[in-house]
Amino acid sequence: MSNPIIAPENLVYKKSKVLSDNIMHYCPGCSHGVVHRIVAEVIEEMDMQSKTIGVAPVGCAVFIYNYINVDFIESAHGRAPALATAIKRLNPDRLVFTYQGDGDLAAIGTAETIHACNRGENIAIIYINNGIYGMTGGQMAPTTLEGMKTSTCPLGRNIALNGYPLNMTDLLVKLEGTCYVTRQSVHNASNVKKTKRAIRKAFENSMEGKGTSIVEVVSACNSGWKMTPNEANKWMEENMFKAYPLGDLKDK
């Protein structure tokens, strides 16, 4: 029997036209799909599809350009902020954002990230922090928590051996060039809304020439963490949020 409530005139949500119809390759439970959807919605709501140039990372989101329907440049691993620097300076009326994971942004691309932020480039950086290298199969990331097991620290991250988890956003707050630094998550509806507001603000900041905005999204990688999606979200709340507390770190 058909349900009369499910009718086109009653729909309160529809897919953004900036999202393509391609089926995402992400694992069920992964945060990337939600963040992609938010980015697409914000671009649509700001009416910036024709003015947006995205910079794709190397990592699980390497194929972001197959899902968010704007022009994209695929960066070498970690170099996205350098690309975005030139793209924005040469095309100041365009919305330029990078989308990077923690391996990309906080390990191999540390220098490019810090210097782009320190110059105050008018770009937005979406930073997915799930504490692990997802694409290459679950190796230790700079953000891997102490004691957390990965394929390259199978007994758990050992501080004496591997050093401390790197909290990049805490570092970036201190740079004069950043105007907005925030840490969010997308593991429940209220946080999805907060993340969307954060991304909108970051994109608006870059168009207003306020400096660099960073939206860190503390994310779950249930495949890499070897958990079910629900377990991963719970583990994230109990462990990741302790090391990476949610909220605005800077808003000027």
Binding site: I53, I73, S75, A82, A86, I87, R94
Partner: protein, 361 residues
Amino acid sequence: MLKNMEEVKLLKGNEAIAHAAIRCGCDGYFGYPITPQSEVMETLMALRPWESTGMVVLQAESEVASINMVFGGAGTGKKVMTSSSSPGVSLMQEGISFSCGANLPMLLVNVMRGGPGLGTIQASQSDYFQTVKGGGHGDYKLITLAPASVQEMADFVDLGFTLSFKYRIPSMILSDGVIGQMMEKVVLPPYKPRRTEEEVIAECPWAATGKTEGRYRNLISSLELDPTIMEKQNEERQARIKLVEATEVRYEEFMCEEADYLLVAFGSSARICQNAVETLRAEGLKVGLLRPITLWPFPTKVLAKYAEKVKCMMTVELNAGQMVEDVRLSVNGKVPVFHFGRMGGVVPTPEEVIDALKNHL
């Protein structure tokens, strides 16, 4: 106000690069200081083109960042460039490989110094292999222009961009510390305006400029996981490479008429060889100089022709013998090909070249 006319100036080779970049309508320069080429960025900063043509000039945090800024800018269809010297260019190899993989036009400048390693700040030509054989990973080529004068430093900026946009292969001006630092008279071309947004989109419909209504999104990428598609993309690149090899070879013949012996040299070595050839001709020895201007594409055919006429050839290079391998491939064993080189930043005198040649006669 910029005077839209030719100007004659006395400039260093590095300074000429900067002037020529502004005058050819370059959109952006991204670089990192390194001797012996820092005058390129210093001159740009002193000339402040962002106030006149709107050209962006930015000092990056590293050569790695510079080349990736160039990659980003080129991905939006802009005329962008960087310059560096040997150790810095080694750092750029990742970005150069990615640029070739993504078929991006751009201008690179290497004012070579001695190596390997930190080496020396004095002139060298020991990055020949790195440049023409591929210093980064994958099957690619760089259109390589070797200036032998300050005038050519200026001229090859516009030429480099033109060839690079025509074939969507990065161009490299492969210079050295002598050409970069020496001062000569140079005729600078009139100012060419930077392209408008509409002109960029018309010339570069592939560029990431913003997905307008009615077209599919543009993607600048060197990634393709399907081997059959990746092979097709490589085949398409190789077809362009073959086309460049067939049509863009440039070289200069100096006193080659009825030559019995041929010197082959590029860049500053060629200047030394000119002097040697004049002296030897005055002595009655029929010696000529063939100067490859494009190191890739290499003047293979003309060298093969000379192999039918001369008794031997000798390359003169500021290295341990790099271009000599390409000359030997070109003549395919028809005549002996010798090499004379100095390394570590030492530049030979014409007399040393003359003695080296006479040792082989």
